[in-house]
C-alpha cells in the first residue's frame, strides 16, 4: 500500500467508530460509500453513466454518455464531512451553458443514506394556522396548475473558508482529485424546476390571521426541518416534482421538494411531507447551531436568507492547464438571490481594468447566467477574475470588501482586519460567501487560486 493512500484512509477514518458506522450506513450497490472512493478507484467512476461501446436496444432506452465523457462526475466533498451525509459536488469546470444536468447536480444531505420513496405512498400535509388542514397525494398535486422555472440552488456554506481549509487538509493527506473550483465552490447547480406554487396550496388551505412563518419537514431519515418566512412562501416558492424535464432525482428529493428561489440551500426542504403554518420561527438546530454567522464580538447573525451577487470563472480554472499563448474564451457563471444578473465584468490584468462580458440570453431571475469573454493570453503570468452586479445594483465584493460588510453589520462597526483575523483563527463555517474568485495564470499555463490562499490558516481539525 502506498503511503499517500494510507494517509488518506487514516485521515478519513480519524473519526473513529462513527466513520465505520457512517460508511456502512450508505448502502451503495458495490458496497462502497462515496467517502471511500479514492483516485485508485477511477476505473469504477469512469464507467458510470456511460453507454456500452456495443449497446443493446435496452442500453438505449434511457440514454447514457459517450465513454469518453466518463471522467466528468460529481466529486465528493473534502474532509470528513462526507461521513455525516451525502456530499457530492458539481464539477463546475466542466459545466456548459446555464443548466446543470440532474445527474451532476450537487447534493448536500444532512441525514445519512439516500431515501427511496414510493411516490404512491408520498403525501404532503398542510396544517397549523390554516382554515382547513389538507393532505395531497402526488397524483393530486400533479392535477393542480403548475409552473416551470429556472433557478439555481446553492448550499449556504458554499465558497466558505471552511471548505478551503478542508481542501488544503485533504491535499496534505494525499488526495489528488480535488480542485478549488469544485471543493470550495461546487455546492451550486441550476435546473429548470416544475411543480405547484406553494402559495396555491396555502390558499387552498386558507391562511389564518397571525400566521407569519411556516415550518417545513422532510421525509428523509432525520426529517430535515426548516422555518421559512410566510411572505417568501407566498411569493415564489415551488413545491417541485420535476427537474430538467423529468422527475426529480432521489438525491434532490424525489418525489417532492421545496424550491425556494434565491434563498440559501438549506431552505429547499427535500422529500417534503409537511408544511405547518406558525407565528414564529422554530429555532431548529440548523437555524441556531448551524447556518449562523458568528462575529468576533460573540454575536451571531441568524436567519440569513438571500444569496448575494456572485460570479465565478469556470474556464480556465484550477483543474485546467493552458497549452500555450493565444486565444481562449473565458467562460463562467453568475447568479444572485435577488433579481436577475445585469452585468458581469471580467479583468485579465489582476483587477486593474475591467470589461463587460457577454451575457447568455435569456436571463432568468435567481438563476445562473453564463458569461463569456474573448481573451488573448500573451503567455505572461497574470490574474483573471469576474464580478457580478444584479438588477438592483448590488455588486459582488472582494474578500476584503466582504470582511468590511461583516464588520459594518455590527454596532459599532468592527474593522475588516479584525473580521479577517477572526476567520483565520475561529473554528467555524461562514455563510453566504460570495467573494471575487481570483485565478492566477502561471507562465506554464497552470491555474491556481489567489483568493483563499492569501489568508493564513491555522492547522486544526474541524
Amino acid at each position: 500500500m502506498n503511503s499517500k493512500k494510507s494517509d488518506r484512509r487514516g485521515f478519513l477514518k480519524g473519526s473513529a467508530a462513527l466513520a465505520g458506522l457512517a460508511v456502512g450506513a450508505i448502502p451503495f450497490a458495490n458496497g462502497k460509500a462515496l467517502a471511500e472512493i479514492s483516485p485508485e478507484d477511477s476505473t469504477f467512476i469512469k464507467k458510470q453513466g456511460v453507454t456500452p461501446d456495443e449497446p443493446n436496444i435496452q442500453d438505449l432506452l434511457y440514454g447514457g454518455r459517450s465513454r469518453f465523457e466518463g471522467e466528468v462526475y460529481r466529486v465528493h466533498s473534502p474532509g470528513a464531512l462526507a461521513l455525516v451525509g451525502l456530499r457530492n459536488l458539481t464539477p463546475l469546470h466542466e459545466t456548459m451553458g446555464a443548466i446543470t444536468p440532474a445527474s451532476l447536480h450537487y447534493t448536500v444531505a444532512r441525514g445519512l443514506g439516500l431515501p427511496n420513496i414510493d411516490p404512491r405512498e408520498h403525501t404532503l400535509i398542510i396544517h397549523g394556522m390554516v382554515e382547513r388542514p389538507l393532505i395531497f397525494t402526488m397524483e393530486e398535486l400533479k392535477r393542480l396548475p403548475s409552473v416551470s422555472r429556472v433557478h439555481f440552488l446553492e448550499c449556504t456554506g458554499n465558497s466558505g473558508l471552511y471548505h478551503y481549509r478542508q481542501h488544503v487538509m485533504d491535499q496534505k493527506a494525499g488526495r489528488t482529485d480535488q480542485h478549488v473550483i469544485t471543493s470550495v465552490h461546487g455546492r451550486t447547480s441550476c435546473s429548470e424546476w416544475t411543480g405547484v406554487p406553494l402559495s396555491l396550496l396555502l390558499k387552498e388551505a386558507g391562511v389564518q390571521k397571525g400566521a407569519s412563518w411556516i415550518v417545513a419537514e422532510g421525509g428523509d431519515r432525520e426529517r430535515h426541518a426548516k422555518s421559512l418566512q410566510l411572505a417568501k412562501a407566498m411569493d415564489d416558492v415551488i413545491v417541485a416534482y420535476g427537474q430538467n424535464g423529468e422527475a426529480i432525482r432521489r438525491e434532490q428529493g424525489y418525489p417532492l421538494r421545496l424550491v425556494v428561489p434565491g434563498f440559501q440551500g438549506v431552505c429547499n426542504v427535500k422529500y417534503v411531507r409537511s408544511i405547518k403554518l406558525v407565528d414564529k420561527p422554530y429555532y431548529f438546530q440548523i437555524e441556531t447551531m448551524n447556518y449562523t454567522d458568528l462575529h468576533p464580538d460573540g454575536k451571531a447573525k441568524w436567519y440569513e436568507t438571500q444569496v448575494g451577487p456572485k460570479s465565478l470563472i469556470t474556464f480556465p480554472s484550477d483543474p485546467h492547464k493552458l497549452p500555450g499563448r493565444g486565444f481562449y474564451e473565458i467562460s463562467g457563471i453568475a447568479w444572485a438571490g435577488r433579481g436577475k444578473i445585469s452585468r458581469v465584468e471580467v479583468s485579465t490584468d489582476g483587477g486593474r481594468t475591467w470589461k463587460d462580458a457577454n451575457l447568455q440570453q435569456p436571463i432568468f431571475s435567481k438563476a445562473w447566467t453564463r458569461f463569456r469573454h474573448p481573451w488573448n493570453w500573451d503567455g505572461a503570468e497574470t490574474q483573471i477574475m469576474s464580478r457580478a452586479t444584479n438588477e438592483y445594483g448590488n455588486i459582488q465584493p472582494t474578500i476584503m470588501e466582504l470582511a468590511k460588510l461583516w464588520g459594518d453589520d455590527r454596532t459599532p462597526p468592527l474593522p475588516a482586519t479584525q473580521i479577517v483575523s477572526f476567520w483565520e483563527t475561529a473554528e467555524m463555517s461562514t455563510y453566504l460567501n460570495n467573494p471575487i474568485q481570483i485565478w492566477k495564470v502561471n507562465q506554464d499555463g497552470s491555474i491556481q487560486d489567489a483568493t483563499y490562499s492569501t489568508l493564513k490558516f491555522y492547522d486544526f481539525h474541524l
Binding site: A17, L18, A25, G79, A80, L83, G111, I125, R132, P133, L134, F136, E140, P145, K203, E204, G206, G210, W213, V215, R221, E222, R223, Q229, A231, K232, M234, D235, K276, V278, K280, Y282, Y283, F284, Q285, T288, M289, P296, G298, A300, K301, W302, Y303, T305, Q306, G308, G337, S342, R343, T389, E391, Y392, G393, I395, Q396, E401, T425, E427, M428, L462
Partner: protein, 209 residues
C-alpha cells in the same frame, strides 16, 4: 397584529410585493372557498404524525420527564460513540460540552452549551434526528433525560434537576441573547431585498420602468 404590520410596511415601501399582498388578502377572503377542491382533510393520526416539531414556546412538547442522572447511561450507550464520553465530540461530530465564555474570543468553541439559544432546540433535535441510524426511537422520557445530561455537563442545570414540558422552558441558556436580528427578519425590506448587505455598484442607476 403581525399580519397588519406586514401589510402596512409593504404598502409603504414597495409595489413589488403587491402580488404577495394580494395573495395574503385572497387567502383571508377565500377562507371559506377553496378554488380547486383537490386534496382531502387529513386524519387525526396523520395530523399527529406531522405535528411533532417543537418551537421555543414548547407547545408541542409531550408529557414525560428525565434528569441528567437518568440520562447518563442512555448517553453512554447511544450517543458517546460520536459525541465522546463527556460530550467532547469526535470530529466531524459535534462537541456538546464546554466553550461557555469563548464566543467573543479569537478561538470560539461552538458547542450546544455555549451556543444554543433555547433548550427546546436541543430537545427537538434529539427527538427528531438522534441517534443517527435509529432516529425517533427514543421515548420522551429518554429525550428529556438526554437533554438534561447535556445541560448538566455544561453546568447549566443540576444533576438531579428534572426536565419536563414546563421546566424545559425555564432553562436559561447562556447564549440566549447571542443572535441577531431579534426577532428574525420575517418580511423583505424593499424591492424583494431580504438581505440588504451588499455594496451598490458605483454609478449604478435603476433601469427605467
Amino acid at each position: 397584529m403581525r399580519r397588519t404590520a406586514l401589510l402596512n410596511s409593504t404598502i409603504s415601501i414597495c409595489d413589488f410585493l403587491l402580488p404577495v399582498m394580494v395573495l395574503l388578502a385572497c387567502s383571508a377572503a377565500m377562507a371559506q372557498s377553496p378554488t380547486y377542491k383537490v386534496g382531502r382533510t387529513p386524519t387525526a393520526a396523520e395530523l399527529h404524525e406531522w405535528d411533532k416539531l417543537v418551537g421555543s414556546d414548547g407547545k408541542e412538547l409531550p408529557p414525560g420527564s428525565g434528569s441528567a442522572k437518568e440520562g447518563a447511561p442512555i448517553y453512554a450507550a447511544k450517543c458517546a460513540v460520536c459525541h465522546g464520553k463527556n460530550g467532547e465530540g469526535i470530529p466531524p461530530f459535534r462537541r456538546l460540552v464546554g466553550g461557555i465564555g469563548t464566543l467573543n474570543t479569537p478561538t470560539p468553541k461552538i458547542t450546544v452549551g455555549s451556543y444554543a439559544p433555547f433548550a427546546t432546540t436541543i430537545w427537538e433535535y434529539i427527538n427528531r434526528a438522534m441517534p443517527r441510524l435509529a432516529e425517533r426511537t427514543l421515548s420522551p422520557d429518554e429525550v428529556y433525560a438526554l437533554t438534561a445530561w447535556v445541560l448538566y455537563k455544561n453546568d447549566i442545570i443540576k444533576e438531579t434537576d428534572v426536565l419536563d414540558k414546563n421546566t424545559l422552558l425555564e432553562v436559561q441558556m447562556p447564549n440566549r441573547n447571542g443572535f441577531y436580528p431579534v426577532p428574525p427578519q420575517a418580511t423583505p425590506d424593499k424591492d424583494r431585498s431580504w438581505f440588504p448587505y451588499w455594496n451598490q455598484a458605483p454609478g449604478w442607476k435603476p433601469a427605467a420602468k
